[in-house]
Symmetry: C2
Subunit: 419 residues, 2 copies
């Protein structure tokens, strides 16, 4: 008999059906036993009457079962139906106690225990929901960008030089030569602007972060986009705002979770003004986490927006490919804060070959290490810019998770390389 899902049961009232899933809970009452079976869609309640033949091996929490039974109306059951007169077949038997229970509304285990037993913890509906939201955000990202003529690309994760920042890079042995894990697809997405004008990539990026915080991972999922033929960074911000709006709509569509509204025009403040709002000294080169929180509160209070753009970051704190603003001390780079946390970095890039040569020379960098990258500019590149969204940070902020590890299936950090 073709298996159906728990959510389809109501359509089969009075009929015999087959379901399958995990034993979520087994409750032995005086006369009857109730079995709650979890599948990908939800839960089914199965009633085991006294005298029911016990299957072999015994039914235990976590075991995988296939059950053929009659769908019977019961107002008290979840969904208004339950399964009666079951024939139970154990597909996979669990013969040890679970290290923590999955059937309570919240996982009682601490984060470390959850991460140690990720294969089990992720089955808890709250953890699984976060990953579904991440999947929906990713799908929405792609759909919104494809509607704006962006083309998907795949770029190398092993690179020749530790170029972008030098620090915090993983080194590896590449056929006897040194290689590095890419900290971002930055250079490659810029080169691909020369091919498709507008490109995006969803992929892993790697940071050998020596610090252990609630918002850093050694590997995270970067939602990258880059677009050509822009006037300046404001065209990039417009495309990003539209993309975020599409992502949030897709989350609601797929998961029922309702993120806050993305304003058609997200408030934007210049970096110098942002320092003032945050009460920071005027010569600060960057925003500290406390400043970001203050700006988030300000945007909500003054503009009713959970989002705020900070534009015009000082050139001295942005990477060499950053395009300056009219005032050369400031850049056409921006960050997007969501609920007081930076979740996107973006901006306009340099596009003329001579500007790259000058910027790299000023930074004391050898041009030879950048030859493949410089090729793209030497042979003609339009004004362009883009952004990178940190998926785990975005989802953590959305669902109110205090730690990005709560929304990452198998996080990697300073202390953790398994499972």
């Amino acid at each position: 008999m073709q298996r159906i899902l728990s959510t389809e049961l109501t359509a089969y009232a009075g009929e015999k059906v087959t379901i399958a899933g995990w034993v979520h809970r087994l409750r032995q009452l005086k006369k009857v036993a109730f079995l709650i079976v979890r599948d990908a869609a939800g839960f089914s309640q199965v009633v085991i009457e006294p005298g029911h033949e016990t299957p072999e091996p015994a039914i235990t929490e976590g075991s995988v079962v296939e059950i053929t039974a009659t769908v019977t109306a019961n107002e008290q059951a979840p969904g208004g139906v339950e399964l009666t007169s079951p024939e139970i077949r154990v597909l996979s038997s669990v013969d040890v106690p679970l290290p923590f229970e999955l059937h309570r509304p919240a996982l009682s285990a601490g984060l470390a225990a959850q991460l140690d037993h990720a294969a089990l913890a992720l089955r808890h509906p709250s953890r699984a929901r976060n990953l579904r939201i991440a999947a929906a955000a990713t799908a929405g990202f792609r759909a919104a960008l494809e509607a704006q003529r962006f083309v998907e690309i795949q770029t190398p994760k092993i690179v020749e030089s530790a170029t972008e920042s030098g620090a915090n890079v993983f080194a590896l042995d590449y056929f006897g030569r040194p290689g590095y894990l890419a900290q971002s697809p930055q250079f490659y997405k810029q080169l691909m602007v020369g091919v498709f004008e507008r490109v995006f990539e969803v992929g892993p990026v790697f940071r050998a972060e020596p610090s252990d915080t609630a918002r850093h991972l050694a590997q995270y999922t970067s939602l990258d986009a880059e677009m050509g033929f822009i006037a300046d960074h404001r065209d990039v911000m417009t495309a990003l705002t539209r993309t975020l709006s599409g992502m949030f709509a897709e989350i609601t569509e797929r998961t029922g979770f309702v993120p806050p509204a993305v304003p058609a025009e997200i408030p934007a403040v210049h970096f110098a003004e942002a320092l003032r709002i945050a009460g920071a000294p005027a010569d600060e080169p960057d925003l500290a986490p406390a400043h970001e929180r203050a700006l988030g509160e300000w945007a909500l209070r003054e503009h009713g927006s959970e989002f705020v753009y900070v534009t015009g970051y000082p050139m001295r704190k942005r990477p060499f490919y950053t395009h300056p603003s009219a005032d050369p001390a400031y850049s056409n780079g921006f960050d997007l804060l969501f609920r007081g946390l930076e979740i996107v970095t973006g901006g306009q890039r340099l596009h003329r070959y001579a500007d790259y040569v000058a910027a790299l020379t000023a930074a004391g960098e050898p041009l030879e290490a950048y030859r493949g990258y410089l090729d793209g500019f030497r042979y003609g590149m339009p004004p362009h810019g883009g952004w990178a969204i940190g998926l785990e940070r975005l989802v953590a902020r959305l669902v109110g998770a205090a730690n990005v590890r709560e929304v990452t299936a198998f996080p990697r950090d300073l202390h953790r390389i398994a499972p």
Copy 2:
């Protein structure tokens, strides 16, 4: 004035418009000059009459220009229109000759030169088209799987042990400890069957292939899927066939490229029979490339199919997690050959904890190295299986490229780590 694309010109006949793009070709005739401008959508022909004011800097092939001009009907022009009385603004000037010309139907440069100057070579319409086909195949993969209830996942690319095969793995320094680049998301996608029942991932995988062939890369894009509650590998093959069909339809939809038909039922031969068809000795443990080619010819001749499944590979050549068939010498593992080349490997996996313990013990592997993976089976896993498609191989075979590097933007191999 809002820029329009080359493909939109015909809708603006008689009007003044702005286009932008790369100088694809500059042809100076006796009286007039013709400028062909390439943008993401196609080409525009611009006529420069005698006495036209020369822009500064000079127009050169590869330069990026923005042109405001009148759309004028001309039957001889591509698309039936050309741009006249242009005002030309150079956005980005190229002041060196290109290492090879982009305006001929085929790139004259050899593959090595193309890869050295990837930023330029990928702009050739033939190279760009291959990447568009790859993007469409990827989008079709996701859409077909989401229609079958699969959920997208992101998994770690840095792993603790060189588990799956041991050989051909990249080693790295992970915060002072040894780490390895994942050769596949195999273990993680299996664990996620315990969460979502059906999952997929599109991501990079890494093989330290010491051999330099036309079909191997050190990094390639793997289109992975895994599904639970199957009867055996044939359920996996059914889902895969449906998915390929969706991918091919999406390629046609997005690019106009027409792949061969995917039969509703792809012919399948058992490994023992495949050896006989290929004229190989009956005790061969695997299929050599020549055998795969012979099987491809056989499937086309006997079944009119460009595809053929080979099922029941010998257990001794498949990884430890492979589920045996009724005859324990053979497996429920399969390969899918497309035009005589293996492009997919898949099969049913073991799902019972005790079977994993027995398989790893027989292989002499320490259980401790697999503890996070084994957790998934210890706490209940349904019968399941899946597959991995090599994106670059599939696209190379589709477009008739002799080398996977022709359909990869920035390939990585034994000799190449840049650009």
